[in-house]
Amino acid sequence: MVTVLEHDSELRQRAWDAAASVVDPEIPVLTIADLGVLRDVTLDGDHVEVAITPTYSGCPAMNMIALEIEVALERAGFHRPKIRTVLSPAWTTDWMSEEGRRKLAAYGIAPPQASHSRRALFGEQAVACPQCGSDKTELLSEFGSTSCKALWRCKSCREPFDYFKCH
């Protein structure tokens, strides 16, 4: 229950923590705060509004993420939270936290690199293998199991791995 004794800032922090606990359904080691999807949480009385920014245009996880934020906030005692989608500025993998990048690598997904490497039409990019750390790797397919990933293979340990594409 929300009591009148709590200050707005504490309330807002609680709402933020609840929203920030939601994970990406397709990469469950990353929270939406790690991803940079969670942009803002505002309070009007005890009514909460959460602003999120969509990642890839075709990412089907966004609907589920919005639903899970609502559930997390309801559980934390905030009723009928509003989810607002903010398009501008557009999301970029540069917003992913360092913590998020570490978690991705530990999970076996190579984290996104700086966004300039994408520009070259047939540009070579060096992606280190998240299993053995070798940089002797090769691209198998630009498109992987989700819209945010490409499929790579390590030539040293022979393991295939996902690479989180820079966006």
């Binding site: 890839y56 075709g58 498109f143 992987g144």
Partner: protein, 258 residues
């Protein structure tokens, strides 16, 4: 039971946004027809991923068009409840998949344009269009790289793949001129600085094409006669068939939701 088509109040901004949304939806739908049929698993995933990107772009654009119109239309009504003459997409994107070469050449022509177009639109003072452009530009760059690699592989491949790729280029070429054309309403948006003039991109588009096509040992047609009509709702016979499939659920069960 049939359901009536919606009416759309096509102000220049609404029409402009609908045209881009329709391009993305129709091309996305075409690519989704490959799902489960592509020549290999990686390619099946690639085409489905590109389809998802395009349909995602279409959703943002339709939502913005509905907001700009300010009536009670929304992304679903705009996609499912307009008839063929109300669609404003390029003739290029509605052309059938044909063989794999034809699908790739269509994608190559469109992505080479979309990459340049969205990059230029990122500086639009319309913040929603600029944000959609920022996302679409990155995705188009991937789509272009993917299609370019296939054009080279097909052109510089076997006699059979080379003949099919050249045949697709020759067949689809006449549908590319429409990408660079503007009408009075769009010209007003260009003068107001909201949209960019696509005609200014044709030189760079040709440079991108020439580089890839010559590496593929193929050539671009010299014929400059171009077919137009899609932007004004005059379509080839293929779009009606596509829409009958795309819209069948809403037409059969009006108002149905998941």
């Amino acid at each position: 039971m049939a359901i009536a088509n919606i009416q759309v109040c096509e102000t220049p901004l609404v029409l402009y946004t609908l045209r881009r949304a329709d391009d993305a939806l129709i091309l996305g739908h075409r690519l989704s027809e490959w799902c489960g049929h592509a020549p290999m698993l990686e390619e099946d995933m690639a085409l489905s991923n590109i389809a998802l990107d395009l349909i995602g772009q279409a959703r943002e654009l339709y939502t913005y068009a509905a907001k700009a119109e300010g009536r009670d239309n929304d992304e679903d009504k705009l996609a499912y409840l307009r008839d063929v003459r109300q669609y404003r997409n390029l003739l290029l994107v509605e052309q059938p998949n044909g063989d794999f070469a034809q699908t790739m050449v269509r994608q190559f022509f469109y992505s080479a344009f979309a990459d340049l177009y969205w990059r230029a639109m990122m500086s639009s003072p319309d913040t929603t269009l600029a944000a959609i452009a920022a996302k679409s530009e990155k995705e188009s760059a991937y789509h272009l790289r993917h299609a370019s690699e296939w054009i080279i592989r097909l052109g510089d491949g076997t006699d059979e793949s080379r003949a099919r790729a050249q045949g697709a280029i020759d067949h689809l070429w006449a549908f590319t001129g429409e990408m660079f054309a503007v009408d009075d309403g769009e010209r007003a948006l260009i003068h107001a600085g909201i949209a960019i003039d696509p005609g200014t991109l044709r030189g760079r588009w040709l440079t991108t094409l020439s580089g890839v096509v010559s590496e593929a040992t193929l050539h671009l047609p010299q014929n400059d006669w171009m077919q137009q009509g899609g932007r004004a709702g005059r379509h080839s016979e293929h779009l009606g068939h596509l829409l009958s499939e795309l819209q069948s659920m809403q037409r059969t069960f009006p108002g149905q939701t998941w």
